[in-house]
Symmetry: C2
Subunit: 276 residues, 2 copies
């Protein structure tokens, strides 16, 4: 049974493995009042990633914890947009790195105000100088091991909204906190799941919506040339808190901006996030 | 100025970036009474890695914190061997992954009993199935991003003491918590610094001692064939808490065991660790 800690009452115990080794996961969930449109997808990912890492927590447990936090948050926040953050760790114990096979998860519940929405006219983006290395056993997992993203985020100065990170093969994979969709003459393109450091909940939502609407969408690697070619009709960043963000300028080059992706894949209004 | 937290009084604040992103460092320092023979090298690495990550803490600050902890630990521990652990994080704050450029470090001070010494007759070691991926900007840094080591350490069952991890190029790089020295007909070999996930303090001590004694020592990549060849006269693991550990069996094959490396590079007895 997971132990629940509320950030407003203090942090996790000093011996928690989340701090010691980044041995845990997190979700940042956008909420409007008590409605969290992508909650279901957040819970899916959290449960899936916990299984992959062998962290003892079920989807039902996290759902119960999230539901309580949503009700409580709604009482204090009213209709305001806010962010519910859940940190799920493997808990304490073990022999050094080796986990205690009977260990129980810790969950830390945090909340914050929502960040301001990105400008609708699009954002300025550049390429990161920090290489992205993705262990195949950890690909896509929103774990607490995020030092590469921290180093890359140090490059964000002034109105630079995001930097895109490339892997060892030269593929452009994702931003520090966003996944990537490219509108091309042939259809939508987004880097494949096994190459991702973090497989975003908004990415999953957008992919599902595009497929449901019958739009051609391909999970393929993206090169610099792909992004800079004439057939690139637009570049979009996705993030569960910020939504779908059009890129107006990439490495100094202007890009066409429209609302097509947001129109096709706007946020669902149902709390379970099952529909587009 | 860094804020100091004592584990016996509680953990770090809920918003600490060490927990959120693994945005920090740690050292585990072996102490006998109040003497920490490798303290100087631990402080060197901590200060160097903090500089590389841009975490605001100086060697003098950490030295002061460690010295106080050593004095206090000696009072309660007597002559017993124990382990002083320091976790240094970037502190709180920032905009998501992006650090606050004016942020101040947090330091968590923990202590534990020393683990039992490994058997002098040598230990059983195997190869890990978890690949090691090392970002060149993070190589050697003992950061809080240790999920790969956690996954590999899950393979340690029964009397299996350690597993050796390989990188994408097929080089055998290090154990989950140890660095690697191989005794060959041509001299000592150890994987080069830029390939390491963690550049161990005991590795630095052993390298310096071998060089000081005029022993031939080469920082070169190691393949499976190198470890299994007839010219391999012995394999040794190094760890600042456990010391120099001979390998008696590697992937089911017996290896010769002697005390030569321990004799050449036994632990210094001076607290500053400057001499061999």
């Amino acid at each position: 049974m997971a132990r629940v800690f509320l950030a407003k009452e203090g942090g996790l115990p000093a011996t928690d493995r989340g701090l010691a080794y980044g041995d845990g996961l997190f979700e940042t969930i956008r909420v409007e009042g008590a409605r969290a449109p992508l909650l279901s997808k957040h819970l899916d990912r959290l449960a899936r990633d916990a299984r992959r890492l062998g962290i003892a927590i079920t989807r039902n447990e996290v759902q119960r914890i999230a539901s309580e936090a949503l009700v409580e948050g709604a009482e204090t926040r009213g209709d305001e947009a806010w962010v519910l953050k859940l940190i799920v760790t493997r808990g304490a114990g073990g022999r050094g790195y080796r986990p205690d096979p009977d260990g129980e998860a810790n969950v830390l519940v945090l909340e914050a105000s929502a960040p301001p929405p990105p400008p609708a006219v699009g954002v300025r983006v550049d390429f990161s100088r920090v290489p992205l290395t993705v262990n195949p056993l950890l690909c896509g997992i929103k774990s607490l091991n995020r030092l590469e993203q921290v180093l890359a985020a140090k490059e964000l100065e002034g109105d630079l909204f995001e930097v895109l990170m490339s892997n060892n093969a030269g593929d452009i994979v994702e931003g520090t906190r966003t996944n990537l969709f490219v509108d091309t003459d042939e259809g939508w393109r987004t880097p494949p799941a096994h190459t991702l450091a973090v497989s975003g909940v908004m990415r999953a939502h957008v992919l599902a919506c595009l497929q449901q609407r019958g739009e051609p969408v391909f999970e393929t690697t993206l090169s610099l040339a792909d992004l800079m070619s004439d057939s690139c009709r637009g570049v979009y960043l996705t993030n569960a808190v910020l939504g779908i963000v059009p890129v107006a300028e990439l490495a100094g080059q202007a890009l066409p901006v429209n609302n097509r992706l947001a129109t096709v894949c706007g946020l669902p209004t149902e709390i379970d996030g099952a529909s587009c």
